[in-house]
Structure formats: structure tokens, C-alpha cells
Amino acid sequence: MSDATTDATLPDTARAARPEGPWRVALRKLMRDRTAVGAIIVLVVIILACCAAPFYATHISQSDPFQSNLDGQITLGGNSVDIMQADTAGLGLGVTPIGPTWRGQYFFGADNQGRDVAARMLYGGRNSLIISFFATVLTLVLAAIVGTIAGFIGGLTDTVLARLLDVLWAFPVYLLAISLSIVFISKGIQIGPFNIPSNSLILPIMIIGIVYVPYVARPIRGQVMSLTRSDFVLAARCLGVPAPRILIRDILPNVTTTLIVFAPLMMALNMLTESALSFLSIGVQPPNASWGTIILDGEDLLYTQPMVAIAPGLAIVITVLALNFLGDGVRDAFDPRAKLRVKKD
């Protein structure tokens, strides 16, 4: 008998009294959290803006953000202005890129290749978001598999997997990420007929996704071990329910909430790691951009055009803050103790 049939046969009063599902409660609680809602709005704006990068580059910036434009000019206030401006004072040394115009073209100014920083930021943001999102998915999937297998099967399997996680955990995460990046970025990865070139975004996704697996897998393993010993799982086992069914019906739904709580926090962490690797030239490879590579471009312009480094830095701060606020909101929404507080309200 389906739930729908059951609902249809219930009287209205009984239907009204039926408790809400945990997902609906969590969503309701999340929507009540103003900070989390604000974070969602900020993230949506950032994602939409980054998705609109090609439109911005073509119609507003009117420049190719991946092509150097060292000899170009733009019109400002009716005057033609060099994008790279030679210093005319004193000894006349140095050529400085144009600063923020606060208009469509070169809104945040140009970098040392004469490229529109605002347009590059949108493209770069797209890469930063893609890498941090898919690295998070990879981390969570791998962590869920490893943590669940270790916690559910136990015994030798748990010992081996747990020690492997310990070994991975023992490496400082940035050191491990940098080491892997240096190895793989130099020549890419060749696995049989499959080749991942060194400039592919898949490389930073894989590297970042893997180094954070222990951070999620260990708590998942602990949770699964605890669930495995819980009364309802013991009861299911006594009733002769097969292990895979227990895993799918009883364990995984409980683990999923933990993974959801981890997701935004991991994404924030992954974004910072991606930016750090790209800043060190071992993440996203030029001429492609990410917020980290744009900060690196701006490093040489800190004295003359600090906005080249400040703008992507601010974008990272805002996105990471929004993800952290969202993570806090999600955690509160899925926390059983928080549920009590909501009822009290």
C-alpha cells in the first residue's frame, strides 16, 4: 500500500496532526535562519554573475579576457586612453595598467597583460566555483564510501581503511595538495588510454577532493559504527533483514544529513585550497583563470593597481563567508537539538 493511499484514507484532522518529514523541517528551519537565507542569496548572485561571464565579456567589457591587450586603448569621457600607461614623470620608467574605471569596460581596471580584470574575475569565479563544488562532491562521495564500509563491516576492513585515513590525515593538507599538484601539473595524468592534460580543471578537482577525504570519512565512520550498534539496526538484523538493505534503508539516510551539513563547509575549504594552489601556480593553469591566479597577477601590481589583487580577494572572502554561514544554517537545521528550539519558538 502506498503512502498516498494511506494519506487519502486519513481524515483531515489526522492528516494535519501528522508530523512533518525531517527534510521539510530542516528546510523550514533553514528558511527561518536569516543569516543562512542571506548567504543563499549572496551565493545565488555570485553563481549567476559567474554564469554570465561570456555575456559580460562580449557585451559589456567588449574584450577577450584571455588575450593580452598591451597595445590597446579604450574611450573614457570621450578621450582615447591607453590601457597600459607609460609613466611620464621623473625618469619615465615603468608601464602601469589602467586602474578601475567603475564603468562597463575595465570596471576593476586591467592586469599586467592589459586584460579586463572584471571579466577575468567572472570567468575565474566560474572555475573557482566549479573546482570547489566538484571537489566537494568527490570528497563527500569518497568519504561516504570509505567511512560507511569501514564503520559497517568493521574488523580487518575497518582497521585497514582507518589506518589509511590516518596516514592521509597525518600529512598537512596544504603540503599534500601542493606535492600532488607539483607532480601532476607538470605532465598531467596518463592512465592507459585516458589522458588528463596538465591544464585540465579535473586535476585540481581530483587533488583537492582526495586530500580532504579523511576530514569527512572519519566522522562518517564513527557515525556508522554508532548506528550499527543502535537498537533499530539490531532489531533489523534479528528479523533477518539482509545487510545491504540495512545499509541502504537504515544507515545511509542517517549519514546523508551529516554529508549535507559538511557540504557547504567543505566547499568553502576547497575554495580556499584551490585559490592557494592557483596562487602558487599549481592550480588552474594560464591562460585560464581562477580567483587565485588573478590574485597572483595582482601581486606584481600591489603598489600601482592594488584592485587587481583586492577584487578577487574580496570575492573569495564573500563567497567563503557565505558558504560558512550557509553551513552553520544547514547544521542548525539538521541538528536534533535545534529542532527542539524551533518547536519552542
Binding site: F66, S68, D71, D87, L91, V95, S281, P286, P287, D300
Partner: protein
């Protein structure tokens, strides 16, 4: 004595006295500036300080004041710094046997910093050591010495028998060459030929300094930290043109700070000079606030993009020509710091160098000067090459303007239709990486600074068949360019230069143009040297060969 003669004699005496007084005053003034510590800084050290191995401009400047060869480049500013003078030898010998024999008489009383006298055996051992330690240019510079063939085959047992002969009684050393070499004195004047004691181990000295002969000796060297130079207690001036006394008592060369920090340290008076090029974003500030601390001097050097002529896509001449026509050399100059700091260049030789005659086919309105890229021609050659869509990786090092030049080159290549990406690798390995054919480098960013003032130092060293060594890290012909016809011209002209330098230079100019037409490189520009010094550093002396002469500046 008549009145007239008396007046004449008196006048001469007066002139002599005033000259003497001026000289004495000059000496006294110079003496006033003796002492103090000169603080130098660089982002990184330049490896070994073994004079027979190190091949970097950074440490050649140091070895220039610590060690000596039989002859030396004059320690002065300007064009005269290209002149050869006698150093440990009493004079620059005249060639004998049609330019195949040179007899050097050693100065007496010159000692190493360990107190040992310099003997003819030390000279012989030094030249054997050049081969024993596999000097980078042993096979290209010193292979004219009799016996060098055997030394190149089995370096460990190198004797140079019959090639370098000592005569203790006469205190002479005789060099026998297999053929005349017009650049032999230049090669003897570089640090590779600095004389070291015969007891010096035949292996890389690494961070241990060879005993010095110059006014300073390296007392400690830690590549991660610093290098300290102090006065050599055994040094006495024997020829001030070859090795003058130094002003400062000590030199402290610190390694590690980034160029940004180096500029700030100099502005604050914590450092006196920086090896690295100042970051471009600091140039306007430096120029406006500290104009008197900036010294700009021409360099005989080039920034260029060598293209591998043996692998796709640049084994296709049309593809190479397309890159040359598309390259906006003004943009490259702007990346380097603007027109005050670099000059666009299309050819192999830098402006002003022996043999140079201006030539630029890769520009709108071809002629002697680059004016603008010719994209129409570039695209036509690109189409003819059939290489559109070919993947290309540009290899640049991670120092100074090289990553920015690499990014720009990627942009140029993509605008032509290649699928170009940039790979930035550590400056510690990039130079050898791009030389080794095993790495299949297609195009890279590189620079070449003169070793000595002869056109062959660019043409023969960088583009002859003899400089191409497949599979080796020491294959300075990065393009792998080898044209038998041009190579024959080069070899012929090396012989011509022995007897007729003027004719040889004219011929070098012709060969330069032929090589430029073959387009094994895309030459970008010739840089100038910008030295940024502290306000207390005075008497700035710039040699064309070794740049700022540390021994000739003073800090008090």
C-alpha cells in the same frame, strides 16, 4: 740657465707639483672612502661558486673581484671595460706560429689567499681542471687547446699534454692551439679560466671557495642565507686596470628576499644594491622618489623565444615566420618596463655589438627598425603552414618578467590559431629543461647575455650545429637549429677573425641576417640594465662584462 729656461723649468715643476698634489689629494680622497660593509641582495643564490663551473652573471660579478686569470677585462666603466689587459701574466703576449702559440710570463710575488705563490703548475692544473670538472664550455671554448680531444673523451685523466706547457725556470706557461682563435684572450678573461691552486680537487667545489687572488675572498657561503666576502690579506695591486684594490672592507650578499622586499630594503638603507630587476609596479615610485639612486646602462643581451625547429609545429618555417610577424615587440618592451628599459629587436645580435647591422624583416614596412606587427602576413604564413589548431606549450621560468612574457606569447600564439598554454617552472631548472631535447619543448622564453664582446658569442654559441647536443641538458642551441651552409660560413669566419676582425665583423652581420631570415627564434627585445642602489653607495662603476664592479663602489 736663461730666464726663459728657468721659467719653463719652473712652470714644469709647478705643473708636476700640482699634478702630484692632485694625485695625492685623489689618493687621500679615495682613502677616505675605504672601509664599511657593502650589502648586496638577491632573491636566490646562483649555485656553486666553483669558478670553473659557475656560468651565471650573478656570481661572475663576484668571481670578477675574487679571482684572476692570466688576462682580464679592464675593471672600468664604459667601452674600455671590453678591453683585455694583462692580469696574472706580465703582459698580453703576441701570438706566435700564426696565432697557434701564446707564451705567458707569470708575475712574481702574487699569492693565493692561502699564502701559496702562484706557479706555472697552477696554471696547467687549472686548464686540466676545466675538463676534469666538465666545464660547460670545455668543448666549445677550450677545445682549441692541443690535447683537449683526449680531455673531452676521458676528463678524469686530462693532462693537456703538449697543449699547456709550464716552464718553472722561465716562469712561463705556453699554450699551443690546434688552430688560431681570435677570441682566445676573451675566453681566458672569463672566470672559467681563473687560476686556482694545483691542489684544488677535481670536482665541483660547491659552497667552498677556491683560494682567491683578488682583493676579496669568500669566507662563507650558504645558498639559503648569504655570502660573506672579506679582504684578501695577501692581495697587493699589481695592475690596477686588471684588479684594483677594493674600497669596502666587507661584502655581505644576502639571498632570499623577493624583489619587492629588496627595493624596500634599499629605499630604507638596509641594503645597497639588488641583483634582481625591480618589479615593474615599483618603477614609477623609484623613478620619482629616488632618481639619483637609479643607474641605467646598455646591455649586450637579448630576450627571445627559441622555437624548436625539429618538432611540430615549429619544424615548419612558415609557422615560425608567422610568430615573428605577429609578435608585438612594443608589448614585450612594455612588459619589461617600457622604452627606457628595453629596445625592440628582431635579429640575433643586440644593437651596438660587434658585427651588428640593424635589420628587421618582421615588421610593417620591413627595414632596419621594428615599427608594428604585421598580422596580415602573420596570418598568411600561418595559413600556409597548416598548423592551425596545433597544441603548443610555452615554457617560462618563474622569475622577474618571464611569466608575463610567457603569458603574452601564449596570447600571440592563440591569436594565430595555435592552442597554446603556458607552463611556468622554477628558474632553477628551466634553463637546462628547455635545452634538453628529451623534454620536447616547443617554444620557451629565454635570455642571453654576452660572455665577451664577439659576435660569435651569440651566433656560434647559440645557433651553430656544434652547440646542439640532443638529449643533453647542456645544449645551448635551444632551437636545435643546424644549417650546414650557415655553419660553414660561421667556421670560415672564425678563421677570418684571427687576421681581419673588420672583415669578420662585416661577415658576422651578414650571417646574423641569414639566421634572422631562418627564424629559429622570435627575438623580442634588447634589455638595459637598471641598477637601484642605496643613497650611501657612490662611485658606481659599471662594466659591460660583469656589470656593477663591487670593489669599486664605496659606502662611506
Amino acid at each position: 740657465m736663461t730666464l726663459r729656461r728657468w721659467l719653463h723649468s719652473s712652470a714644469l715643476a709647478l705643473i708636476a707639483a700640482s699634478g702630484l698634489a692632485a694625485a695625492t689629494a685623489g689618493t687621500a680622497q679615495a682613502a677616505d672612502h675605504m672601509g664599511g660593509t657593502l650589502n648586496l641582495t638577491g632573491a636566490a643564490a646562483a649555485g656553486t661558486i666553483d669558478p670553473q663551473i659557475n656560468y651565471t652573471s650573478q656570481f661572475w660579478s663576484v668571481l670578477f673581484i675574487t679571482n684572476d686569470g692570466l688576462v682580464a677585462f679592464k675593471h672600468v666603466s664604459g667601452d674600455a671595460s671590453n678591453n683585455i689587459v694583462a692580469d696574472l701574466a706580465t703582459s698580453v703576449p703576441a701570438p706566435q706560429d700564426g696565432g697557434k702559440t701564446y707564451v705567458f710570463t707569470l708575475r712574481k710575488g702574487v699569492k693565493f689567499s692561502n699564502g701559496q705563490d702562484i706557479t706555472p703548475e697552477d696554471v696547467v692544473a687549472t686548464f686540466q681542471r676545466i675538463f676534469k670538472v666538465s666545464n660547460p664550455n670545455a668543448g666549445s671554448w677550450y677545445n682549441v687547446i692541443v690535447g683537449s680531444d683526449a680531455c673531452l673523451k676521458t676528463p678524469a685523466t686530462c693532462t693537456l699534454a703538449g697543449g699547456v706547457v709550464a716552464d718553472d725556470a722561465a716562469n712561463t706557461v705556453t699554450f699551443h692551439l690546434t688552430q688560431p682563435d681570435s677570441e682566445f684572450f676573451y675566453k681566458l678573461a672569463t672566470p672559467f679560466a681563473d687560476i686556482v691552486p694545483a691542489s684544488t680537487p677535481a670536482k665541483d667545489l660547491g659552497t667552498t671557495a677556491a683560494p682567491a687572488t683578488g682583493p676579496y675572498m669568500i669566507t662563507s657561503y650558504d645558498p639559503q642565507k648569504n655570502m660573506i666576502l672579506k679582504r684578501n690579506p695577501y692581495f697587493k695591486v699589481w695592475n690596477k686596470d686588471a684588479q684594483p684594490a677594493g674600497y669596502v672592507d666587507e661584502i655581505n650578499y644576502t639571498f632570499g628576499p623577493k624583489p619587492e622586499d629588496e627595493v624596500t630594503a634599499i629605499e630604507n638603507g638596509q641594503q645597497d644594491w639588488m641583483f634582481d630587476s625591480p618589479p615593474s609596479d615599483r618603477l614609477p615610485e623609484m623613478a620619482s622618489k629616488y632618481p639619483s639612486s637609479i643607474h641605467i646602462n646598455p646591455l649586450f643581451a637579448i630576450y627571445y623565444a627559441p622555437m624548436n625547429v625539429n618538432i611540430a609545429p615549429f619544424n615548419n618555417k612558415d609557422a615560425r615566420l608567422a610568430v615573428n610577424y605577429a609578435l608585438n615587440r612594443r608589448s614585450a618592451v612594455n612588459i619589461y618596463g617600457g622604452p627606457r628599459l628595453a629596445v625592440p629587436n628582431c635579429q640575433v645580435l643586440p644593437p651596438g655589438f660587434p658585427g651588428y647591422t640593424a635589420y628587421c624583416p618582421y615588421t610593417k614596412n620591413p627595414g632596419t627598425k621594428w615599427s608594428a606587427p604585421d598580422m596580415d602576413k602573420a596570418k598568411a604564413f600561418m595559413k600556409a603552414s597548416g598548423q592551425a589548431g596545433a597544441p603548443v606549450t610555452v615554457i617560462a621560468d618563474d622569475q622577474n618578467v618571464d611569466p608575463a612574457l610567457g603569458t603574452y606569447l601564449v596570447s600571440v600564439l592563440n591569436s594565430l590559431g595555435f592552442k597554446a598554454t603556458l607552463k611556468v617552472i622554477s628558474a632553477n631548472i628551466q634553463f637546462t629543461y628547455i635545452q634538453n631535447t628529451k623534454n620536447n619543448v616547443q617554444i620557451s622564453i629565454s635570455q642571453w647575455y654576452q660572455d665577451y664582446p664577439a659576435a660569435s658569442d651569440f651566433i656560434n654559441v647559440l645557433l651553430s650545429c656544434g652547440s646542439f647536443h640532443p638529449g643533453s641538458d647542456a645544449s645551448i642551441n635551444i632551437s636545435g637549429f643546424c644549417d650546414k651552409g650557415i655553419d660553414a660560413e660561421i667556421n670560415k669566419n672564425l678563421i677570418t677573425a684571427v687576421t681581419d676582425q673588420k672583415a669578420a665583423n662585416a661577415e658576422w652581420g651578414k650571417i646574423d641576417h641569414e639566421l634572422t631570415d631562418q627564424a629559429p627564434w622570435a627575438t623580442m627585445f634588447t634589455p638595459k640594465q637598471l641598477d637601484f642602489v642605496s643613497s650611501r653607495l657612490k662611485n658606481f662603476t659599471f662594466s659591460d662584462q660583469f656589470h656593477m664592479i663591487y670593489s669599486q663602489v664605496w659606502v662611506q
